[in-house]
Structures are given as structure tokens and as C-alpha cells.
């Protein structure tokens, strides 16, 4: 917000905005496609997404064993 009366604040703000304005941006259609691709590439290695068998998940309880 440029509501301050201070020259220092205004200069800092202008410098910061200049830096931000000079950034090279890419269209969302391209970047979003990359985000989706990343998800698809890694979905098999995501245990919370695909669920893994109780035997390989240390937190899930194994089947109870019955003492005969």
C-alpha cells in the first residue's frame, strides 16, 4: 500500500515492485499441465493415495494371530 508519507518506504516499495514486475511468467495452461503430470508420475509411490497393504505399512496392525 502506498499510503505512507515516508520517502524511504515508497522507494523500497518501488524497488520491490520493479523486481517483481521484471519476472518472466509462464501461462497457466503450461504450468498446470506440469503440476498434473507430476501428480500422475508419482501417484504409484504415494501410499496415502493408493493405500498399501497392512503387511508393509508399519502403522497398520497386522492380522491378529490366534494361539492354538
Amino acid at each position: 500500500m502506498c499510503s505512507s508519507n515516508s520517502v524511504v518506504q515508497a522507494q523500497k516499495l518501488v524497488d520491490q515492485l520493479r523486481v517483481e514486475a521484471s519476472m518472466e511468467r509462464i501461462k497457466i495452461s503450461l504450468t498446470a499441465a506440469d503440476l498434473v503430470q507430476y501428480c500422475q508420475d508419482h501417484r504409484r509411490s504415494d501410499p496415502l493415495l493408493t493405500g498399501i497393504a497392512a503387511s508393509s505399512n508399519p502403522f497398520k496392525d497386522k492380522k491378529t494371530c490366534v494361539l492354538l
Binding site: C2, S4, N5, S6, V7, V8, Q9, A10, Q11, L13, V14, Q16, L17, R18, V19, E20, A21, M23, R25, I26, K27, I28, S29, T31, A32, A33, D34, L35, V36, Y38, C39, Q40, D41, H42, R43, S45, D46, P47, L48, L49, G51, I52, N57, P58, F59, K60, D61
Partner: protein, 395 residues
Amino acid sequence: MCDQTFVAVTFGPCDSCSKASPLMNIYIKNEPINYCSFCVEMMACQGLQKGETLASLKRECDNLKKKLEEERGKLNDVELHQVAEKTEVLGALSVKTRRVLKGHGNKVLCMDWCKDRRRLVSSSQDGKVIVWDAFTLNKEHGITLPCTWVMACAYAPSGCAVACGGLDNKCSVVPLSLDKTENLAAKKKSVAMHTNYVSGCTFTNSDMQLLTCSGDGTCALWDVESGQLLQSFHGHTADVLSLDLAPSETGNTFVSGGCDKKANVWDMRSGQNIQSFESHESDINCVKYYPSGDAFASASDDATCRFYDLRADREVAVYQKDSIIFGASTVDFSLSGRLLFAGYNDYTINAWDVLKGTRVSVLFGHENRISRVRVSPDGTALCSASWDNTLRIWA
């Protein structure tokens, strides 16, 4: 010449005019300078280019802001969920509480996993920091800090130390010893010194450097061994509540979020604020990078979580529902980035489909606000810390 009131930490002779007055502590090229406010203004006016005045600077400021909005708007050719239309719809998660970690005597404020995927550290309002083995529920270490509200804790990448900080305005590193009889608090080493509470901390890629954020509005990078300040990051205009380091492949940046409703991306080497996002309507409580490093999510008191694309430089998704009216305090992504777990002040954790923007599941169980959620390093489990004095492991 009237200027803004400012919080003066020091009073003394000005470095420039030698008059005793409240001093503004500013940084010029990372060198601290203590000038009285009059000399600061004089210096700034001398720095003005020919023809610049305060009014012209303000005009340029407004123009640049408009230009930024336009540039960002031009790239908005499609919505994220439209691009994600072809991806499969997620079924409800079959995730439930597998462990409840009881032992803290008061609100658990923060937790962090160890890289070995089974240990975790948690800190609470009563000043206790506990290191747990999540498989066996064994408490391996307990450290009592002299301050209350330990709001930040982090596990070192080596697993040999933890960092913690809070209302003491410091962040300390405690080496973990295998000897159970040793008093760990005695070996505590203060690394970071802020002028207000420490709200978040994380080790960088090694045990040697610590990144902290604070209620004093700054973030800082410290050398653990010497306690020296390596870089400071100024730009937030209110308390900084959270930070997250970019995943290692993408380089030296981190994101921070705070009470000024802004999320800023910083270059760690230069201290420069490279990108800034302001679309939340209230304090940002937590920020977290997407696993690829090209985006990040934020949780806010305005009851929404938002997703920002760094390369397009804009917000690309908002995760909200009319039925969710309580603030979100914490977020974390699952390993593939498809799921976003968010903890809320209504005691629930919502799992969102990042790409489609829909809610996949709600996890109930805690009896008070969720303060932190973190997915384990191998993605098999989610740990949540809450004001109900417990932590839960969901898998």
C-alpha cells in the same frame, strides 16, 4: 517533516548526526545502520533520482501494481481443475487413527518427522519438547525448556539434534544423546536471536544452518556452530507465522507467510524477496511447497487454503466450502502432491484433491484445534498435533 511512527529498539547517538534520539535500525546492503529518523529521510531524499518526488514515487508504485495485475491476468488462460478434468476422481481415503501419542501436559503446538520415518519431535505450551518413536510409542528424549509456548520445533537432517524455539525469542539446537541419563537441556545451544517470538524453524539441507521466522516480521538464516546471522529477510509488515524450504532439487529459495496476509518467496543467498502473493483475506498460518517445488499451498484464518503456481506467479486454486467457517492452521501435501491435508480450528483435518479442488475426506478424532499436520518422509502416514495435548498418527 513528519514520518511514520516506528518501534524504536534502541535510543542513542545517531551514526550520522550524533544527536541522541530514538534510532531506526535499518540495513544497507546487509550492514546494520543506526540512524535517527530525520537522517534516514535525508539519506533517502538524496538517493532520489532527478525529478523524483514522493508523489511521483507513489504514482510509479500504483502503475507498477497495475502492470503486475495485468501481466498476471494475461496468463490466466485456463483453470487448474479444467486441466485436471481427465484425471481420475479420488475415492474417499481409507485412513484412520493408528496411534495416539499421549504424554504432553498441555497443547501440542508443533511437530516434525525425522528422516528415518519413525521418529518425530513435538513441542508444547508447557515448554516440553519430546522425541517419540512413532512405531512403539516410546518416548526417547524429553527436554524441558525454560520458556512456555514452544511454537517451533524441527528435526535435524542427520537425526542427531532438534531445534526448538518460541516465546523466549530464541531458537536453540539440542544435540540428542544416546545416553538416557544425560540432561539434554544442559547441552542446549542458543542459535537464533529475534526481537519477538519465534514462530517457525527448519534446518536447511544440513545440520549446519537454521532458518527461522519470527513475530518481529523477519526471517533469518543462522550458522548453527557460531550462532552468526548469515542472512536476514525483510519485507513482511507484520508477524511471520510460517516458512518452508523449497525441495532440494529446485534450489535456494523458501516461502514465508504471515499476519500481513502475504506469502513471500525469498532467495536465500541474496536475501531478496523475489515473489509476493496477496490474496488471502486474513493471517496466513502455514505455507508448504508442492513436492516438485513449482508451487506452494497456504492455510489461513479466512477458512480457506490456497494453491499458488510459482512459474505463473498467481493463485490457481482455492480450497473452501461454505460449511467450513473455522480458520485453517496447517497444511501438508502427500508424497505425489495430489492430496492436501489441512488442519482446522474446528478440530478436523480435511483432505483436498489438489488438482480438482474438491474435498476427498474429513478426518475426525481430535478434541481440540489442530496445530500441525505433517506427512511422514516416505508418505506412509500423516501425523497431526493438537491443542488436546495429543498427537495422532493416521495411516
